[in-house]
């Protein structure tokens, strides 16, 4: 409904300034944007790595959450960060991005910051339980998955 207008304004702001460690990559239209994030402290899990995020917006954004995933790339090199809430196919389990946890006052920048701090705070060098199985069978998009948010410590 007002997705285009709102995204247009977010884009203007994003192109002017962004917090450290968050970079704008591309926004060819108001359906799909890409952003890069880096962890700023010396967390050895993510040292010197940059990760690519893909945002997909429905026409009901920001009433509906965007779909946000990490995507792998070879040029420039982008991998999927290791994290107990990030599957190796890039799908993220974060309540903020789910129907329950999303709020329309969130935006692209605040989502990037949340993901950045989710990585910063992590010490576990592991994937979510059942990752292999999930990735092998899962051809769904994040919005079709019902996550259970049981762990609020990470």
């Amino acid at each position: 409904m007002f997705a285009t207008k709102r995204l247009g304004k977010e884009l203007i702001k994003i192109q002017q300034s962004l917090p450290p460690g968050i970079d704008f990559v591309s926004a060819p239209d108001f359906k799909q944007w890409e952003m890069d994030i880096r962890v700023l402290d010396a967390n050895p899990l993510y040292l010197d790595q940059t990760y690519r995020l893909r945002f997909r917006f429905s026409t009901n954004y920001p009433i509906e959450a965007p779909e946000v995933t990490f995507i792998p790339l070879s040029q420039p090199l982008r991998t999927i960060p290791i994290h107990p809430h990030i599957y190796s196919n890039g799908i993220i389990c974060l309540d903020l991005l789910g129907t329950q946890g999303w709020s329309p006052v969130q935006n692209v920048e605040s989502v990037c910051m949340s993901l950045q701090s989710m990585l910063t705070g992590n010490t576990k060098n592991e994937r979510p339980p059942g990752d292999e199985d999930f990735v092998r069978r899962n051809t769904q998009r994040p919005r079709d998955i019902r996550f259970v948010y049981e762990d609020s410590t990470v």
Partner: protein
Amino acid sequence: MAHRAVALKEEGNKYFQNGEYTEAEGLYSQAIQKDPSNPKLFTNRAMTRIKLQQFENCMDDCLKSIELDRVNMKGYYLLAQTQLALNHPNEALTSAITAYEKCLETNDKSTSAVSGLVLQAKKQKWEAKERERIRNRSSMLRELEDMLMKNKREELRQLRLKMLDFNEEAEEKSDIELECRKKVEELRTIFAIADPKNLQRREVPDYLIDSISFAVMHDPVTTKTGNSYDRVTLMEHFKRSHTDPLTREPLRADDIRPNLALKQACEEFLENNGWAVDY
């Protein structure tokens, strides 16, 4: 007779949906002949007349439907659209606000479209004011320019009276012309610089902006946290989740309160900055 009118209306609706407005208008007119007391027939015909850009006739239909049914949101909504198309922003604003109030009473699904129309009317009102302002300003500029020209003509007349030889006269004449052109340029520059509207940066203060739609608010309401949102976008959010957007605590539609002071601030801002509607 009335049921015959309804049948004609149904048929008209089919044509309308297919974009065949002339046919639809004809059918609605027939329906109105059968039953001139049904306000819906008039609003339907008004809708097709908007599509056909027959705004004068459309206005009659809107007024007639309102006369038949005073609590008829659609009548006011279409009337506002028509008045906007006919460039009557003040009247359009009044009609749009009436339509908006009726929407809130009945929780109508067009509330957001009507709210947008209110803002469009405010914008058109500002545009009219802006045109007037520029006209007034340039009339003063024109007057000053005329005075410079008059001076130039006077100097040229004086020059002729001096009875100089041909070359000297031509030289002095071109000096006078040049001098005058420079003065006019300077005058125009000064006017451009002196116009505060040209210097002002087009920015909307954050507190007038709805943090969900990022647009200027028209009907701000406050939640328990003290934050304000536009009623329309908050309602849109409630359709999905009855929570406070900031805290995610439960929030019901009757927990919210109008923020009248902020509403006035938004209105005042738009009166002088109508561009902000599309910003």
